[in-house]
């Protein structure tokens, strides 16, 4: 058996350039799959990691997340909030309100979203993950203070806004007490283009009692699902609607993220799979050429006693060995690329992404390479084995 390997190995070595190209073809396909999967797992882990820190939180919205965008169906009322306070297991409820407002700075007016809520909640929600570049966060009694996002400070107006500068929001004067850092991928939407006020100030400035967002904190994380359901029921009852309130636990949020990632991974792997198909077509072509070139040699082997099966296994062994080497190289290269991509991804998004190389992925990569080698080598090997010795011997 070892001798079959040696024989196959000699033949591969004889056609170095061609063998190397075939190996490269497989290596590229496998490297793509391995690196994409590893980076994918790393990203998923990084993002869900951030989310698990808020595991005891339920976010309640008067609308639905549909296909990646939020469809608002109305707003909550104070009655909704007091009803929620009666549900068992709830540690804390805080509300937020937001709306567009006209903001003026040094004679330029721009519409900007103003967000008001419980200062402690907002602090753990936004200030802790994103951080402040200048100044300080809001205090409960900051009646006329505001904290602005990075884009508000730097992009929306003609001049850069700093702490102690004065803004006019819907004709009311406010003082900037703090400026946010630029938010990373997860937070930039919520933070960069917004202005933050206390709940009281926001309600006044926006002239509204509408509650656009409720955050509920529970005592027991295991209870979260049950409590979320009850929240939805009670609010829906209040409004006489069926599908109005949407209470999401962190658990379901993490699940949602997981699903999204699987879809993205699926697409990327689909692309890598196409690369593999191309590689396997390459192998089949290479093997066919090899068989054609060695027609004479095959005839000689049959003349000296080789059975059809001997010829078949010889060629199959060759294509398997080539693709196996390609698979191993692909895995190694894939891991290296994964680490590089994670590094770049971390830098670009501000998240700490570390590629996660799972053993199943490596084993899978090698297995796929081997299968590709056997499948694409089969037709040429069969052709070789069926050659008539007479034709073959005469060919030379």
């Amino acid at each position: 058996m070892i001798d079959k390997f040696l024989l196959a190995f000699r033949d591969i070595r004889e056609r170095k350039a061609r063998s190397i190209l075939t190996v490269l073809g497989i290596a590229v396909g496998i490297a793509a799959i391995v690196s994409l999967m590893s980076v994918g797992y790393g990203m998923e882990h990084a993002i869900t990691g951030e989310l698990t820190e808020m595991a005891d939180m339920i976010s309640v919205m008067p609308g639905e997340l549909r296909g990646g965008s939020y469809v608002e169906k109305g707003s909550f009322t104070d009655r909704d909030v007091s009803d929620l306070q009666r549900i068992g297991g709830i540690k804390d409820i805080s509300t937020m309100t937001y709306d567009a407002a006209e903001v003026e700075y040094r004679n330029k007016r721009v519409p900007i979203f103003v967000l008001g809520g419980d200062t402690k909640e907002l602090e753990s929600f936004y200030v802790e993950p994103v951080g402040l570049k200048e100044g300080r966060w809001l205090r409960e009694n900051d009646y006329k203070g505001c904290v602005i996002g990075d884009r508000v400070a730097n992009d929306f107006f003609d001049e850069v806004i700093h702490v102690n500068d004065k803004l006019v929001i819907n004709d009311e004067k406010f003082v900037v007490v703090g400026v946010f850092e630029k938010g990373d991928m997860l937070y930039s939407n919520d933070v960069d283009s917004n202005i933050f006020l206390t709940l009281r100030a926001a309600k006044e400035v926006l002239q509204t009692d509408e509650i656009k967002y409720i955050i509920v904190r529970v005592y027991e994380i295991d209870e979260a699902e049950r409590i979320a359901e009850e929240i939805e029921e009670r609010i829906n009852d209040n409004h006489g609607l069926d599908d109005f309130a949407n209470a999401m636990t962190m658990g379901s949020m993490i699940e949602l993220m997981g699903d999204i990632f699987m879809i993205i991974q699926g697409v990327l792997i689909g692309i890598a799979a196409i690369a593999l198909v191309v590689a396997s077509i390459g192998i089949m072509n290479t093997m066919l050429m090899s068989v054609m070139e060695r027609t004479h040699e095959i005839g000689v082997m049959k003349a000296i006693g080789a059975k059809s099966r001997d010829v078949l296994s010889l060629f199959l062994l060759e294509s398997s060995m080539v693709s196996l080497v390609g698979g191993v190289i692909g895995c190694v290269v894939g891991v290296i690329i994964a680490k590089v991509l994670s590094f770049l991804g971390s830098a670009a998004s501000g998240l700490e992404i570390a590629a996660i190389v799972k053993p199943e992925v490596i084993l899978g990569g090698i297995a796929v390479a081997l299968i590709v080698g056997v499948l694409s080598g089969f037709y040429p090997a069969r052709k070789a084995s069926k050659m008539s010795p007479v034709e073959a011997v005469r060919y030379g």
Binding site: I2, D3, L7, R10, D11, E14, H296, E297, V300, M301, K302, A303, I304, G305, A306, K307, S308, R309, D310, S388, P389, V390, V393, G396
Partner: protein, 220 residues
């Protein structure tokens, strides 16, 4: 013993049918040394291929030790080739990625003989044909005569009863050709049946019996 009964072979070359052999009836006894001589196109190579079980008849039969080769499967033919027949070709037909030792061991490899036994016997064979000091050389590193001797050693690999040579001296000079015929005579003395095809009358003369061929027929 080998004999043929009304052996015929027709080839199809594109649209044209070529009758290479017509009703050949030939008998070769055990341990005979026979040469078949004829011009190009006489069908001698075709006859050789059929006797050597590389191909099957279109009609008629080839019997080797009483077995009708036309009734054998591909694997059956391969087995006869492996066990009873040793081939020598005009162009040597050695595998150029392997050295002399490995080339001679190859038939034994296909016969399932173990590695050590193979290589030992291969070396013995090479010593017998006078190439004991070239066993690790590749065909590209040898002269024509040396390559043909390796081919003979290879043909003897599985200790066949029949040696078939298709113009075995065609690609070498006269002196080497004679040396090769010497080896074949030696093998004949050992009791093997030797069948040689040639267009060279001098080479044919060294066989015990000569048969001529023309246009697919064996002449009396």
């Amino acid at each position: 013993m080998i004999h043929t009964e009304n052996l015929s072979k027709t080839y199809r070359m594109g649209e044209v049918e070529v009758q290479a052999l017509r009703d050949v009836n030939l008998e070769i006894k055990d341990s005979e040394f026979i040469a078949i001589i004829g011009p190009s196109g006489s069908g001698k190579s075709t006859l050789l291929n059929l006797l050597g079980c590389l191909d099957k008849p279109t009609s008629g039969a080839v019997f080797i030790d009483g077995i009708d080769t036309g009734k054998l499967s591909e694997n059956g033919l391969a087995e006869i080739r492996r066990k009873k027949i040793g081939f020598i070709f005009q162009q040597f037909n050695l595998i150029h990625t392997l050295n002399a030792l490995e080339n001679v061991a190859l038939p034994m490899f296909f016969a399932g003989v173990g590695r050590e036994a193979r290589l030992k016997r291969a070396e013995e064979q090479l010593v017998k044909v006078g190439l004991g000091d070239r066993i690790y050389h590749k065909p590209s590193e040898m002269s024509g005569g040396e390559q043909q001797r390796v081919a003979i050693a290879r043909a003897l690999s599985n200790d066949p009863a029949i040696i078939i040579g298709d113009e075995p001296t065609g690609n070498v000079d006269t002196e080497t050709g004679n040396a090769i015929m010497d080896i074949l005579e030696g093998l004949n003395r050992e009791g093997r049946t030797i069948i040689v095809v040639t267009h060279d009358a001098e080479i044919a003369a060294r066989a015990a019996r000569t048969k001529g061929m023309r246009d697919g027929k064996v002449l009396d």
